[in-house]
């Protein structure tokens, strides 16, 4: 029941996000200009046949002769069936473009999230169990540093140190096999993961510290259970909520980060596709990416919700 309710809420979110993006394209300025650039405003007589065909096709693909709401509805219907249209700038099916680009980005994002979680959880447990002592204080400084450095500065720093100066990692993205893919994506993943590690560590540490003050922890200690057992078996699970919530919400921020990282390291993912599309004013691609990203956001957040109810049996009732 709870999941269904959340799912329908999330579907509403997808509708709203796509609506906004579509409305932006249609209402901010002339949609044809947004789609095709200057040729939309040029005198039809000056255009080539191809360009005239583009004009007609754009009108049809985006239902520009229909009223706005109908236009949105029909466009959304196309999206659902996987018809993302065609780029008018480089004549590629948007669907193919996305299909080529998305896997790399997903790989990078999962890579970064895994790195972040694998490092952040033990680190947070360590610092929470030694809260306010030396190791914890030093950790706070480190995690602040990790949060303070913007991704665009971090990529430069990492690239300079590990690819230019010490030349441990390749300077280019190498997709020849899985090993070199993992290896060449290491620096990009670290750049993406750094702020995540710090965020997760800080959230989990805070929550763990307050959980460790709960009575049921004292009860477990009074039962003579070992410190390790108390930390991992009693305290960790009820403390994961803020971290998990941010994990879900961060999906949006992660896309932003991967745009920077892909652009800088020359990784052919959708982040780079978006930047390229924006630079050449290629609106169909931008729209498609917005749709995909918002769907991704929703899927991840629904998964997080399912995880919630697994982590805490009370969640189902509180719906």
């Amino acid at each position: 029941m709870y999941i269904i309710k959340r799912l329908s809420q999330m579907l509403l979110v997808v509708l709203a996000v796509t609506f906004l993006a579509f409305a932006a394209m249609n209402l901010l300025g002339d949609p044809l200009t947004n789609l095709l650039g200057p040729i939309a405003e040029a005198d039809p007589a000056d255009l080539t046949d191809d360009q005239r065909e583009d004009l007609i096709e754009a009108r049809e693909t985006y239902y520009l002769d229909d009223p706005f709401l109908v236009r949105y509805g029909r466009w959304l219907g196309d999206m659902v069936t996987g018809d993302f249209g065609r780029s008018f700038k480089n004549n590629v099916e948007v669907r193919t473009e996305i299909a080529n680009r998305l896997p790399v980005t997903l790989f990078l994002m999962v890579y970064a999230q895994l790195l972040a979680i694998v490092i952040a959880i033990p680190w947070a447990v360590y610092t929470a169990s030694r809260a306010y002592r030396l190791g914890d204080k030093a950790s706070t400084i480190v995690s602040f540093g990790m949060l303070g450095i913007p991704v665009f500065a971090l990529v430069v720093l990492l690239f300079w140190a590990f690819a230019v100066r010490w030349q441990i990692f390749p300077t280019r993205f190498d997709d020849s096999d899985l090993g070199s893919r993992v290896w060449s994506l290491f620096l990009p993943a670290v750049a993406l993961a750094t702020p995540l590690i710090a965020t997760y560590q800080r959230l989990l540490r805070t929550d763990l510290i307050s959980t460790l003050q709960e009575d049921f922890i004292a009860v477990a200690r009074a039962k003579g259970m070992s410190n390790r057992h108390v930390l991992f078996r009693h305290a960790l699970r009820p403390s994961l909520f803020s971290m998990l919530t941010v994990f879900g919400i961060n999906t949006g921020a992660l896309i932003g980060g991967s745009i920077v990282v892909e652009q800088y390291f020359g990784i052919p993912g959708i982040g780079r596709a978006v930047i390229e599309a924006i630079i050449r004013d290629d609106f169909p691609v931008v729209l498609a990416v917005v749709v995909i990203v918002s769907v991704m956001f929703v899927v991840i957040n629904v998964l997080v919700d399912i995880l919630y109810s697994y982590l805490d049996p009370r969640v189902k009732l509180d719906a």
């Binding site: 709960e214 009575d215 200690r221 009074a222 039962k223 259970m225 049996p313």
Partner: protein, 590 residues
């Protein structure tokens, strides 16, 4: 005693390092419990009673420095190896904590929490441990134990959870049970059940017990010996039977005197109570409608709950006369607060009518109602939460005057006078609430309510968050102010002894309905309804105080009415009518 003591503390001190310098929470505590005996440790908050037991259990933060000797059956606890220490915690001693709602891990099944200690310390297999868990739950009288072990804590009530916590403490057959305020968070009838259970188990299993509590009544019923603590110092150690003797330590005596005495009736019972003229035609227990300052008829308050509604208050009728104090008592969730607060439409009633001085409040517009509110003021349970932390005392007390403009009744000089009346030195008027103690905050809250010169004061559990000595001061203050300001008071409380001391009339509520209504003496001396009698009989320390006439026989205080009511699961459709059983005494038909 010839036996070697099971647990012995010799000159135990606990010092906390704080930014403001070291704070000595326990100063030289010495005590001893023999096998099978029950020791009470009594004190108000800050007395060090819990800290000392946490020192025994090694549950204190690292900033705590422990001095002195802790011996368990002659063995020095502080010199134990890590492994021996785990065994000592897990097997030799069992501990029960104050709040059952937070003592169980919310994300783990009951069974897992019960068995992990056994599996760890006794190396039991999963099945053996599960079988033992069922046994334990049966031992603590939890019905359907084999289903319980698969449940999560939130599926159980507070009393049931505390039974689980007790079962957990008993899992490895401890020789000593330390119970830290085990019933403070529970309703009085549940409190009695849990304390009875602890008593029985102690005998069955031949355990020693240390019972930590703020309530002299609780220890007086349940222990052999009592240690009285105050601000980390031990005041005295005394056989429980002599606790109420005259030659006790002055602090013990003052603690005893501060306890509201449930056997003592007020000396100023109001005449209005006896008047019988002009009864309400449909609701006979409403008396003279002309004279009532507040009259409530068939009040219903529903809260949305899931898909349906929960009826918090079900067709309640009562009246209040000028100058009297009506006590509303009952256990948590019985609707006593909601009933009183819906008079000022917080929350607004779902149906029913409320008259104030002859005006039907439901007929008023929002603005007219807001104006009426100056007459109907309120004080709250939590003294800290009821004051805005960012405003000074003066701003808080002056707020009402500010709202109603300069035409208000109170000049600054009178507000200063009011602060003095409630016992706050006006020179501290620029301080913020956090600089005051709980009792002082409650005084400020009272001053704020009185600044508008109200006619009616609704007091919602005003003393239940306070220590017993502070509680006595606030009650006395309220009583005085009631005289000075000619107030009518609705006093909501779960504490029967407090109500006996302050109320002229009492209304007993159960599950959203009135079960008994009458003059304070009638209710306490001659309770008719089985629920009222059950409530009264559950009051701790009653025997030491000489008992109450109404339940002296104990005939119908066995809770059978409550049991049948609970097992029915829901209320009857009809509200039982109140029938007269004395000059000013009405009881619900059963």
């Amino acid at each position: 005693m010839a036996d070697q003591p099971l647990l012995e503390l010799n000159d135990l001190s606990v010092t906390f390092a704080t930014p403001a310098g070291p704070v000595r929470a326990v100063k030289g505590l010495s005590l001893a419990v023999a096998p099978g005996r029950a020791l009470g440790v009594v004190g108000e908050s800050g007395s060090g009673k819990s800290v000392s037991m946490k020192a025994v259990m090694d549950l204190l933060p690292r900033s705590a420095q422990i001095d002195g000797e802790i011996l368990f059956a002659g063995e020095n606890v502080r010199a134990m190896s890590k492994d021996r220490m785990k065994h000592f915690h897990g097997v030799d001693i069992g501990m029960v904590f104050q709040n059952p709602m937070t003592s169980l891990n919310p994300v783990k099944r009951i069974g897992e929490q019960l068995t992990e200690g056994m599996r760890f310390h006794q190396g039991l297999s999963k099945t053996a441990a599960n079988a033992r868990a069922v046994e334990l739950l049966d031992l603590v009288r939890l019905p359907k134990p084999d289903e319980r072990i698969r449940q999560y804590p939130h599926e159980l009530s507070g009393g049931m959870r505390q039974r689980v916590v007790i079962a957990m403490a008993l899992a490895n057959d401890p020789k000593l049970l330390i119970a830290d305020e085990p019933t403070t968070a529970l309703d009085v009838t549940v409190q009695r059940e849990i304390l009875d259970l602890l008593d029985t188990l102690r005998e069955e299993l031949n355990m020693a017990m240390i019972l930590i509590t703020h309530d002299l009544g609780v220890v007086s019923d349940r222990t052999d010996e009592v240690v009285v603590m105050f601000r980390g110092d031990t005041m005295e150690t005394v056989e429980t039977s002599q606790l109420f003797d005259d030659d006790r330590h002055s602090y013990t005596v003052s603690l005893r005197d501060a306890m509201p005495d449930i056997t003592q009736s007020r000396d100023d019972n109001l005449e209005v109570a006896a008047e019988d003229a002009g009864r309400h035609a449909d609701i006979p227990h409403l008396r003279d409608p002309e004279k009532a300052i507040i009259r409530v008829e068939n009040l219903v308050v529903d809260y949305p709950a899931g898909r349906g509604v929960f009826r918090a208050v079900d067709r309640v009728s009562f009246d209040v006369y000028p100058g009297e104090t009506l006590g509303i008592v009952g256990e948590s969730g019985c609707g006593k607060s909601t009933t009183a607060k819906s008079i000022i439409r917080m929350p607004p009633p779902t149906s029913g009518r409320i008259w104030y001085e002859g005006t039907d409040l439901s007929s008023l517009s929002a603005e007219e109602l807001r104006r009426k509110r100056a007459d109907l003021q309120m004080i709250f349970q939590d003294p800290i939460s009821s004051l805005n932390p960012r405003r000074s005392v003066w701003d808080i007390v002056r707020e009402g005057v500010e709202i109603w403009g300069t035409s208000g009744v109170w000049s600054d000089a009178r507000l200063v006078e009011l602060l003095e009346q409630v016992g706050i030195d006006p020179k501290y008027r620029d301080r913020k609430p956090f600089e005051f103690s709980g009792g002082q905050c409650q005084r400020i809250s009272i001053a704020r309510a009185l600044a508008l010169d109200p006619k009616v004061l609704i007091s919602d559990e005003p003393v239940s968050a306070l220590d017993v000595s502070v509680q006595a001061q606030i009650l006395e203050l309220l009583d005085e102010l009631k005289e000075q300001h000619a107030l009518t008071m609705l006093f909501i409380s779960h504490d029967l002894a407090v109500v006996r001391n302050i109320a002229n009339r009492v209304m007993v509520m159960y599950f959203g309905r009135v079960v008994e209504l009458g003059s304070t003496d009638a209710i306490f001396e001659n309770a008719q309804h089985p629920y009222t009698r059950h409530l009264l009989s559950a009051v701790p320390g009653l025997e030491a105080l000489g008992g109450l006439d109404s339940i002296a026989g104990g005939a119908s205080s066995d809770g059978s009415w409550l049991d049948s009511e609970r097992s029915a699961g829901q209320r009857s459709e009809e509200v039982p009518a109140l029938v007269q059983c004395g000059p000013d005494h009405w009881v619900a038909e059963q």
